[in-house]
């Protein structure tokens, strides 16, 4: 029984793409096509244990699926016009025979522009690879319901896109749609390539899925140079799979790999694909695309018998062309590496320094790692050591971290032997940050906030950076990459944290290159009075909330001011309170609620939290009610409760803010 099951599974994986592709063409609905094919699979599972596996299981499944299609059509004929068309085509058996373009069309469909990248990947693996949702989930380290949901969503979108989605693209659209297919295939490949030895085997299995998809694509679209380029790239990369990790799972860099362990069969297949790419490019003309260029680089490496034989000049040229087409930070980083090898470390460093501010690379360990390498070659050992330490702190791979720390330590040995070893190195940035945060005059939320800023600074610049060498330029670099896109408020908060730290450490002004940003208050869309009434009329709404919201509405006072009110500030008779130098006034509806809220209290915060504070949080005396022992209601909590209550009012589903209550006074 189990044997038949695994046979059915194997047959399904080998045949499902063609079956689903042929059905999708005739019924013009991927969801339905897959359903019909799945039904056929179920009957195979029912029948084959009895009858044995048929001689031609693929054809058996195809016939069974076709029969189901016809049954289905008869049943639904009157219900939906869509099936009329199917009925028409289903009568004609030729229509169901697999056609040359079926699988290619299914690929285009699975990578359709109406789908998101993750939907494309899931649907492609499902329909073209025949993988189950559970298998895809395991491969992508996520859970099955999520993948199943994603696939269902993708099918729904395709159904909404209508029959036009099934048309084979041509002309300019063809190359755009093809680019999207190639992207999905390469994404699947890289996901598998990034897997480590401890991972579930489904993950490295993704490399095979991608290779198969790529090879299949190359046969289906032989005139497209980029397709062959991608296949060549994947074949050559896959050829290094065995050599790229050491015995303990640590990564082995390309130039240190044992080239005897490279898979020559895959390399040869890569070369062949590269030749086909060149041939296709010759016919269509035009400059090489990004996959052909990347493949050419991979081929260059594969052709070198030893690392020393590598044609770096050629690789640097190819990267230059690639960086023009695809100026991603990672490509530019690799270009710097190639230039460093071809034209000396200085050239590499110049290219690299232009990348330092890129937010995309701020946590990318290869940036400091490459920089460290170039600096080491320039004999700038102290700086190199710092970069390696930084890279070690950023990488998530333990083996790689050990490797980077070894490189850093290796440089230290050389330094102490030289004349550069002069006295103790002084306090490092990380040590200073630790001491600064350990001061006892900071409250917990301040420590948390400062800690955030300083941790980012340490990650960006390296824990080991001597404090004395910290410059405004360093700080500006971290700010640009870490908070370049942040809201002005966030930017300014980090800025003032650095200023406080610098003042404490006696470093002068470190923020001269970091300008303060103007904080623009976001315009507030008020909540209508009718809506507020409806909100306050809800059964079960706590008295505190009813009073607070009503008071905010009637007073139009700032939220913080209202929350800071104390019982002793209130003048119930005149419907006003004096606090922090201003008056807060209200009208009759608040006046009706206040006495009940006070419940006889004579002093302490007006609005109290629900619970007594825990032992870890001891608020100041001013924020504690002397009668109940409860703490003052915090802005965060009040805001949270209001957002929860108003979720239904907000089209975005986030809920409204308390500030939206305040603006009502003029209209109220």
């Amino acid at each position: 029984m189990k044997d038949v099951h695994s046979t059915v599974d194997a047959v399904w994986k080998l045949e499902s793409a063609r079956i689903v592709a042929a059905l999708a063409r005739t019924v013009r609905d991927v969801g339905l096509a897959e359903e019909l094919a799945q039904d056929a699979l179920v009957s195979a599972l029912e029948q084959w244990p009895e009858t044995g596996v048929p001689d031609n299981p693929g054809a058996w499944l195809m016939t069974a699926a076709k029969r189901r299609a016809v049954d289905r059509i008869r049943r639904d004929r009157r219900r939906e016009a869509k099936y009329e068309q199917v009925a028409h085509t289903a009568g004609n058996t030729d229509q169901h025979e697999p056609q040359q373009d079926d699988v290619l069309r299914l690929m285009f469909l699975s990578c359709h522009p109406v789908l998101t990248a993750t939907e494309r990947v899931a649907l492609t693996l499902r329909l073209l690879g025949g993988l189950t949702a559970a298998e895809i989930a395991r491969a992508f380290l996520t859970d099955e319901p999520r993948i199943a949901h994603r696939i269902a969503g993708a099918k729904r979108k395709l159904a909404e896109a209508g029959a036009a989605a099934f048309d084979m693209p041509d002309g300019q659209e063809l190359s755009e749609r093809l680019a999207s297919v190639l992207e999905v295939v390469y994404l699947v490949f890289n996901e598998g390539y990034a897997a480590t030895s401890g991972d579930d085997l489904m993950r490295p299995g993704l490399c095979l899925e991608a290779l198969r998809l790529g090879r299949l694509l190359a046969e289906s679209a032989p005139g497209q140079a980029e397709v062959h380029g991608l296949v060549a790239l994947m074949e050559v990369q896959a050829s290094r799979a065995a050599a790229r990790t050491g015995p303990d799972g640590e990564p082995v860099q390309l130039h240190e790999q044992n080239r005897g362990r490279w898979d020559q069969l895959l390399i040869r297949r890569g070369f062949t694909a590269m030749l086909r790419a060149r041939e296709a490019a010759r016919e269509t003309g035009g400059p090489p695309g990004p996959y052909v260029l990347q493949a050419a680089i991979a081929v260059c490496h594969a052709q070198a018998r030893t690392a020393e034989d590598t044609d770096w000049a050629q690789i640097a040229t190819l990267y230059e062309a690639l960086a023009r087409l695809l100026p991603t930070p990672v490509v530019r980083l690799n270009r710097a590496v190639a230039a460093g090898m071809a034209h000396g470390p200085r050239a590499g460093l110049d290219l690299l320094d232009a990348l330092a501010d890129d937010p995309a690379l701020r946590d990318y360990h290869l940036l400091p790692s490459v920089r460290g390498d170039l600096l080491a070659r320039l004999e700038r050992h102290a700086e190199a050591r710092l970069e390696f330490t930084r890279a070690a702190a950023l990488t998530r791979n333990a083996a790689e971290r050990a490797f980077l720390l070894r490189r850093a330590a290796g440089l230290a040995v050389q330094d102490t032997g030289g004349i550069t070893a002069t006295g103790p190195p002084g306090v490092t940035l990380a040590e200073a940050a630790r001491d600064f945060l350990a001061r006892d005059d900071l409250d917990t939320s301040t420590v948390r906030s400062y800690g955030q800023t300083l941790r980012r600074l340490c990650r960006g610049l390296g824990d080991g950076l001597p404090l004395a060498s910290l410059t405004p330029g360093h700080v500006a670099r971290v700010f640009a990459s870490a908070w370049g896109d942040a809201a002005p408020r966030t930017w300014n908060r980090h800025r003032s944290a650095v200023r406080t730290f610098a003042a404490w450490a006696d470093l002068g002004d470190l923020t001269t290159d970091v300008e303060r940003r103007a904080e623009i208050r976001t315009p507030v869309e008020p909540i209508s009075a009718a809506r507020l009434d409806a909100l306050l009329g809800r059964p079960g709404l706590a008295l505190r909330e009813r009073t607070l919201w009503r008071l905010l509405h009637e007073s139009s006072a700032p939220v913080r001011t209202v929350l800071s009110l104390n019982v002793e500030d209130l003048d119930l008779a005149d419907r006003r309170a004096r606090t922090a130098g201003t008056w807060v006034t209200w009208r009759h509806r608040t006046a009706l609620l206040l006495p009940e809220l006070l419940g006889g209290r004579t002093r302490g915060p007006l609005f109290l939290s629900d619970r007594r504070p825990g032992p870890a949080r001891t608020p100041g005396e001013a924020d504690l009610c002397p009668e109940t022992g409860r703490r003052r209601l915090s802005y965060e909590r009040a805001e949270y409760l209001f957002k929860q209550a108003t979720k239904a009012l907000d089209p975005a589903g986030d809920g409204c803010t308390l500030r939206q209550l305040k603006e009502l006074k003029d209209r109220g």
Binding site: S6, T7, D9, A10, V11, K13, L14, V53, D55, N56, P57, G205, L208, L211, R212, L213, G214, R215, L216, E219, S220, A242, L265, R269
Partner: protein, 109 residues
């Protein structure tokens, strides 16, 4: 995972006809396109050479050999997801070739 499929020579089998060539051609084309077949080839029995080592001595004997039944007539190196997939391919192969025998072994990675 990779499997090496070896088809044994069978002197009693009828000479391959056009139908077999066509079917085999289509099969090879299909699994090449699907990215499964990595390498394949037929082996020339007349070119067989036996190299035997015993102690320090190495003996080279030219073929063809009498026990032709044991000789390998062709091979296919396939890349598959599972043992079952390899088995399924071998089934399809045998269905095309008719009577005879194939050996299927996983290649150590």
């Amino acid at each position: 995972m990779r499997y090496l499929m070896m088809a044994k020579a069978d002197e009693n089998a009828p000479a391959p006809d056009e139908k077999l060539f066509a079917e085999m051609g289509a099969f090879i084309e299909e699994i090449t396109a699907a990215g499964i077949l990595l390498a394949t080839g037929g082996l020339d029995p007349a070119s067989a050479v036996r190299v035997t080592s015993s102690g320090d001595e190495i003996t080279v004997t030219d073929g063809p050999f009498a026990e032709a039944k044991e000789a390998i007539a062709g091979f296919a190196l396939v890349e598959v997801r599972s043992h079952e997939e390899a088995l399924e391919l071998a089934r399809r192969f045998r269905r095309i070739t008719g009577d005879g025998e194939s050996i299927l072994q996983q290649v150590f990675n």
